[in-house]
């Protein structure tokens, strides 16, 4: 899964899509996931990193991360063809 290469993310969590002109704010966990996606980490690596950092159960992490990916997809922040492959 790849984040759209044009997306700009600031340290404060302000996310700007220069293709659509839309902007969003992400919370600290959201910023971390976006940064991991930018580094082309796999979904499994992202799950493991979140699980390790937030000390919660695997089901919760899977659900939350999947929800976040769905949001990114709906806002065109992830290439659509990438999401269907993953």
């Amino acid at each position: 899964m790849k984040i759209n290469k044009h997306i700009a993310v600031s340290d404060s969590g302000f996310v700007f899509n220069p293709v659509t002109g839309e902007s969003f704010t992400a919370n600290p966990m959201g910023i971390e996931i976006i940064e991991m996606l930018k580094k082309e980490q796999t979904v499994e690596e992202i799950h493991a990193a979140v699980l390790d950092k937030y000390h919660t159960d695997n089901t919760t992490v899977e659900k939350d991360v999947a929800e976040f990916f769905e949001l990114l997809k709906n806002f065109s922040l992830i290439d659509r063809h990438e999401t269907t492959e993953n």
Binding site: F16, P18, V19, T20
Partner: protein, 348 residues
């Protein structure tokens, strides 16, 4: 190196809630690096704010309304030319473009250059001709029909569906959800702008605009897309952001290439949920938000003047996306003597 001085007449000084492009065009011209602009305002009414912006406009003359005909306009421009020796005129209103296109050979003889679309280009993109335009150039446009009597809408509603956009031939539009509302808009808009009225299929989605400049040979000199972020009740952008949507840029390049567009323009588009763009309107002039293009690195007014003067102009290759414009109102304090001069003498 000393920059040449170019004397430029600019219309559209009505910087109000539905602003004309004149003032932002002038701001672009004053920031030009290739020449030193001397600005002569051309105003229709004595309360157009640009008349009183003496830091932007050197002198303003009133000119007759387009409805007065081209003879009166050329008489007035001859008088102005005797005094001001204009090199270029940039007309900024849809309603005056017909007159200026028609007069451009005579203006050229007077030493005044323009850079306007041809009469064929101007007519072809008229709202009433937009469906044929879309079909000819392979660009999606919403379905539309032209009506001269309000009762004529009935035969088109099955095809267009509700709601429907009711548009004047030059300006003004309203979204009608039923026949009563349609009648109201028909009467209001036709009283102001005349007939026909255009009924256009309502396109759902997000509004995008592109401003640009074609060299008349099919080449894109400038193209800057913008997403409207704040829209007034008149449908005007009060805030917008420059974006880099390749689909939009390609559509714009295609429009310029296919039509061999000459001059500035604004494309008004709607993007639906599937990501398809529908062309709602083509305005054959610089839009009021053009200063965003200047701010992101494409000084369209400057390039326009250089093209009008017959100079070689390199196409802009890039611009800075993610920059925004936020419009604001500003109260000027104006001396009554200034108002008196423009009202009685027709110049200030």
């Amino acid at each position: 190196m000393k920059r040449p001085k170019i004397r430029i007449g600019v219309t559209g000084l009505n910087a109000i809630d539905n602003p004309g492009p004149g003032v932002p065009v002038i701001r672009g011209l004053l920031e030009a690096k290739s020449f030193d602009a001397h600005i002569i305002g051309l105003a229709y009414e004595s309360l157009e704010p640009g008349i009183y912006m003496h830091d932007l406009v050197n002198k303003t003359y009133q000119i007759p309304y387009p409805s007065a005909g081209t003879d009166q306009l050329i008489d007035r421009l001859e008088y102005i030319q005797e005094k001001e020796h204009l090199d270029v005129i940039i007309p900024n209103f849809d309603a005056e473009l017909y007159s200026f296109i028609k007069l451009s050979p005579r203006l050229k003889k007077m030493g005044i250059h323009t850079f306007l679309p041809t009469m064929e280009q101007f007519d072809e993109r008229l709202k009433v001709n937009l469906p044929e335009f879309g079909e000819k150039y392979g660009i999606h446009v919403p379905k539309s029909e032209v009506i001269y009597q309000v009762s004529d809408h009935k035969k088109h509603m099955e095809k267009l569906g509700w709601p429907v956009v009711v548009k004047g031939k030059y300006y003004d539009a309203g979204i009608a959800y039923n026949a009563d509302q349609l009648t109201g808009y028909f009467n209001k808009i036709s009283a102001k702008w005349g007939l026909p009225i255009i009924l256009q299929e309502f396109a759902h989605g997000t509004e995008y605009n592109v401003t640009g400049l074609g060299d008349g040979h099919g080449n894109t000199i400038s193209a800057v897309p913008m997403r409207k972020q704040y829209i007034t009740d008149k449908g005007k952008a009060w805030g917008g952001i420059a974006i880099t949507d390749e689909k939009l840029l390609n559509l714009t390049r295609k429009f310029i290439k296919e039509t061999k567009w000459r001059g500035a323009f604004e494309l008004e588009l709607m993007k639906n949920k599937k990501g398809q763009f529908y062309l709602l309107e083509i305005n054959p002039r610089i839009p009021a938000w053009v200063y965003l293009a200047v701010g992101v690195g494409q000084n369209i007014p400057e390039a326009y003047v250089n093209l009008a003067m017959g100079k070689e102009v390199d196409a802009f290759e890039t611009f800075e996306s993610g920059k925004m414009f936020v419009r604001y109102s500003w109260d000027m304090i104006v001396n009554l003597s200034d108002f008196e001069k423009i009202s009685t003498l027709g110049e200030l």
